[in-house]
Symmetry: C2
Subunit: 346 residues, 2 copies
Amino acid sequence: MTTGSPARAALIALDWGTSSLRAYRLDGTGRTLDTRHLPWGIMRLPQPLQDGAATNALSGFELAFDQACGDWLRAEPSLPVIACGMVGSAQGWQEAAYLDVPVDLERIGTLLTKVERPGATPVHIVPGLIQRHGLPNVMRGEETQVFGVMFDQSRAPDHHPADSVLIGLPGTHSKWVNARRGRVTHFDTFMTGEVYAALRGHTILGRTMADAPAADMAAFERGVKVAGSPAGRAGVLSTIFSTRALGLTGDLAPASQADYLSGLLIGHEVASLAQMLRQQGEQPRIVLCGEPALCQRYILAMQHYELGTPEQAQNATERGLWHLAVCAGLVNAAGAPSITSSTASA
Amino acid sequence: MTTGSPARAALIALDWGTSSLRAYRLDGTGRTLDTRHLPWGIMRLPQPLQDGAATNALSGFELAFDQACGDWLRAEPSLPVIACGMVGSAQGWQEAAYLDVPVDLERIGTLLTKVERPGATPVHIVPGLIQRHGLPNVMRGEETQVFGVMFDQSRAPDHHPADSVLIGLPGTHSKWVNARRGRVTHFDTFMTGEVYAALRGHTILGRTMADAPAADMAAFERGVKVAGSPAGRAGVLSTIFSTRALGLTGDLAPASQADYLSGLLIGHEVASLAQMLRQQGEQPRIVLCGEPALCQRYILAMQHYELGTPEQAQNATERGLWHLAVCAGLVNAAGAPSITSSTASA
């Protein structure tokens, strides 16, 4: 956690998910002045004091909010606040809409949900996206990262506005988002990260695993390859059992089993993705956005499945929150470039 | 639990897995006289008393064994005892071998591991099977069910010894075992049951599920079909998220979500199996063996994926234990038929 800086700010931006809360203090150009990382995800908020006298006790959301940015707001009370993520879910502070895909990204910024806080600064929550055609799908928070990535793309010197881009957001629930000309056209979800944690923590596969002093990337790559091998055709429900069987035959050390399992799961995800792209006859530009060590695993898998080496986007969440605040008119950014036209990005 | 019967027994047979222990008292023709079901799986044995005076306290295995069949043995001390399952694993009473696949089933009965119990009846543990070609695979306990099923098949009036048969053993870890002429040639494992429990109990998918008064088989069949639909091509890591998304769009009630998820997982398993069989150009006879309600789910999925309606085997474990005891010479069954020849099954 960093302490407040004397520089003037223009926006407070919150990335408020299930398990953590990140707060950004941004200046009038969208530059990050301060960042804070708190453990107050919406599923583990601080507990309000509940003694008899405190009938007006602050809610867990208010307590977390105050720790995240109360001092910033007391120093500059007129700062607007924008937030994205599960804070806008039915279990969040206030439910924000889902916008139907396909959707123009800039439209997202015009449809924020306002949490009124009597006598205090309101919080503007970014809507999620919902895809109703085919098997339905939803996202909350990732739309903001996509916005940040697309904005960045629009500024790239070799940008062609008609290009389609596939944005990969690896994590607990990986999202793969197809976008074109500032418009999200389709997305897929893979529960890879959460399935990995559940298999490791709550099945027999975790029982034979030992902690490793460092990542075993050879075991990871072995898992990636198995996913696409003839034995991999049985699917992930079958291949994961080899984590245990290879241990029993002495072919996979306990300290290597977690990384092998990670390789299997990410391998199956990326192999499916590669097959879908082949069937669609598409080879879009691919941009990855996420935690660097995890992105490195996806890059290895994408190289193995002949998807090339993707670009990597940095700081997409805070950039997305900034530009959504511009779209919403929360901050004054006269002449701010549009993401739908490359000519505006000069 | 039933109490002892005055009828003379010939064998005590134990099916001793990770989470439970079944004990059978069988007569000289292999008929079941008594059955007991105890919660003493090898991972949750009864706790030995540990006071200072009891330095010779019985182990958890001995305590469970005594509860399962101590009175049967006191009534007829010369009865032999055979056991299969995880009791023969490295975490079991005594580690029993794995036999390499391909293997003749009758060979299994000649390679039992003997747990010596000074002054008491020894316990003979059935070996497991291991497959070392391709991705390795193991089983412990299911080899005994396969033995029981194959023995039953050899007695079927339309039996052709050269027929290949695919034996499905749905459960925590589903096994699909290819056998021909009394010989196990190959097997696959799918962790479907354990993955279902982990997803339901330890991921976001369980959070929106509500208990149902009865199984929702329409939701189950919907999941089965999604696994083979165009959206299913993304694989199970992706389709499972639709359990949540369909709930958010109001298209899947909370009380239907668990059965939908069950359908997705079993659907992916059976779809993979059907694809592998097509690639091998095989259409073997299929025999299912397992808990009846679970088998019913697999039958629906197999019908959807055009694998026909499988036969169902009953009491395969106790039948397998009996015939393994015959092979091992633990019981006298002069003229007992062989499973490798149909002429011996008259």
